[in-house]
């Protein structure tokens, strides 16, 4: 029941997104919106003579990126690694959990409350503890990104693996299909559309997880850069980091959408 409820909520938030073949318009419209937004920002800052400490013009932030590509890319690279490692770990562990949970009622009952609990505890509150245990390197960032990204993958994995038409289950019974045949031939592929929706949520969460971890204890990464720039009131640098972070998040999201289109074309052809 609980899994179903969560599933419905998630589908509603995701449905508005374009998931069919990318058309020129689908790229042009968001790009134009973004450019317009930057122009309006630039114009507003200049027109109202807003102090650059409060709100620098986007040109200042972009200029910083242009002038310090090495520094900014190094930080971006670190954060990207943390996000991707956490995300991949979340996929592996999340899928394993899903498969175990649909095959064992007892394990499902044992794990489900823990899963929810793991999601209820604010990561910001646990992060210092993880840093204490795992040091200040990349590991705690990966772990935090993982713990936060893993939840939607399990929830959607379980929904996908179990959302099989009852008549299909009857057919499989008539054919005397074994559990492993059902898993391999039906359940896994059937779960993919659900799983990709989960992955889209998971990747945005992984970004948040990595940044939060860097905020709390780090010497590199875009999250660290934001905190460090904040300490020196280098607002333009904060925005430069934010812009790169947003671009990174969107790129990763788009990447998942592309993989989705290629791996489940049958889902979009109905």
């Amino acid at each position: 029941m609980e899994i179903k409820d969560l599933e419905e909520v998630k589908i509603e938030t995701i449905q508005g997104l374009p998931t069919r073949g990318l058309k020129l318009r689908e790229i042009a419209v968001p790009t134009a919106t973004l450019v317009l937004m930057f122009l309006a920002w630039e114009a507003a800052v200049r027109a109202f003579q807003i102090s650059p400490v409060i709100l620098p013009p986007p040109s200042a932030a972009l200029l910083l990126i242009w002038k310090n590509p090495g520094l900014l890319l190094t930080h971006t690279y670190v954060t990207t690694q943390e996000i991707l490692l956490g995300f991949l770990l979340a996929i592996v562990v999340g899928l394993a959990f899903s498969v175990v949970m649909i095959h064992s009622k007892i394990l499902s009952e044992a794990l489900y409350p823990l899963l929810v609990l793991s999601q209820m505890v604010p990561k910001v509150a646990v992060a210092p503890l993880l840093l204490l245990w795992l040091g200040y390197g990349m590991l705690p960032k990966v772990v935090i990104a993982f713990t936060i990204a893993f939840f939607p993958i399990v929830i959607n994995g379980v929904s996908g693996l179990t959302s099989i038409d009852p008549e299909m289950l009857d057919l499989l019974k008539v054919l005397k299909a074994s559990r492993s045949q059902i898993l391999v031939k039906i359940r896994i592929k059937n779960s993919l559309p659900y799983l990709f929706d989960g992955l889209k949520i998971a990747i945005t969460l992984a970004v948040i997880g990595a940044i939060v971890a860097e905020f709390i204890g780090g010497e590199t990464g875009l999250g660290y850069l934001i905190i460090a720039s904040n300490a020196t009131i280098n607002t333009a640098m904060m925005f430069a980091a934010l812009i790169l972070l947003s671009a990174l998040g969107m790129l990763l999201f788009a990447l998942i959408m592309v993989v989705e289109r290629f791996s489940i074309p049958w889902h979009f052809r109905q």
Partner: protein, 254 residues
């Protein structure tokens, strides 16, 4: 049609669904038989346990009492050499027509290549030639249901169970499918147990129409339909056809 041997025998079959407050009796006491190569239809009001009866026959649902025998053997597990067609096509969305038809072969771990020719023949028989590589999402509802009939026939089962297979189709497609089904049945004589809501469909297709009472169901009456084979739609305009339909309708209303 029948040569006297019974393929399916129901002997005082009962089915009650467990429920917290009061168990729901679906089938009260059912006894009848379907002979070899006979086309038998089961008719009855909604919720009278027709689908339950098919599931029990296929051995994918236990009885609460009595016995079902298929080919003389009491049914205790899923019955082998049986094809089932459901109310919906239940196709696998990511498999094309051919791969859907061949799905049972894979599950039974038989060699695909041994069945390829037969799959092509079936696909031709139901008029889906040229659509072998299409995905279910690209086909109409009627075409999808034809694919599911091919899938039920791929292993050449001696017994075919059909649960309102054409219920979701429009009237014209449904008539076409009826004719096609008769063609297939006449081409490769099988025993068919066919559940339907449509009286004319049952009379047109069947050797025998079993009318069930409302839930908990029993056999209200069995009608032997005497039209000669092979049939075409001209039988639907005969006086006897109307008389059969009226008699069956009266029995259901009773």
């Amino acid at each position: 049609m029948a040569d006297g041997r019974n393929v399916i025998e129901y002997d005082r079959v009962r089915k009650t669904y467990p429920h917290k407050r009061a168990p729901v009796p679906a089938i009260a006491d059912m006894s009848f038989a379907v002979g070899e190569q006979e086309f038998a239809s089961v008719l009855g009001p909604s919720g009278c346990g027709k689908t339950t009866l098919l599931k029990i026959t296929a051995g994918i649902m236990p009885v609460s009492g009595g016995t079902v025998r298929v080919n003389g053997q009491p049914v205790t597990e899923p019955v082998s050499n049986l094809g089932m067609v459901f109310q919906t096509p239940v196709l696998i969305k990511w498999r094309n027509v051919m791969d859907n038809v061949l799905f049972p072969v894979e599950i039974l771990r038989h060699s695909r290549s041994d069945y390829l020719e037969r799959a092509h023949e079936l696909v031709r028989l139901v008029g889906l030639e040229g659509f072998e590589n299409r995905l279910p999402g690209e086909l109409s509802g009627g075409m999808q249901q034809r694919v599911s009939i091919c899938r039920a026939l791929i292993t050449d089962p001696a017994l075919l169970l059909m649960d309102e297979p054409f219920g979701a189709l429009d009237a014209l497609t449904r008539e076409d499918m009826n004719l096609e089904l008769l063609r297939i049945w006449e081409a490769r004589k099988k025993t068919v147990l066919f559940v339907t809501h449509s009286i004319p469909e049952a009379v047109f297709l069947s050797d025998k129409v079993i009318v069930l009472s409302p839930r908990p169901s029993r056999v209200a009456r069995i009608f032997e339909i005497g039209f000669a084979r092979s049939r075409d739609f001209s039988v639907c305009y005969t006086k006897e056809f109307g008389e059969y339909c009226d008699a069956i309708r009266a029995e259901i209303k009773r």
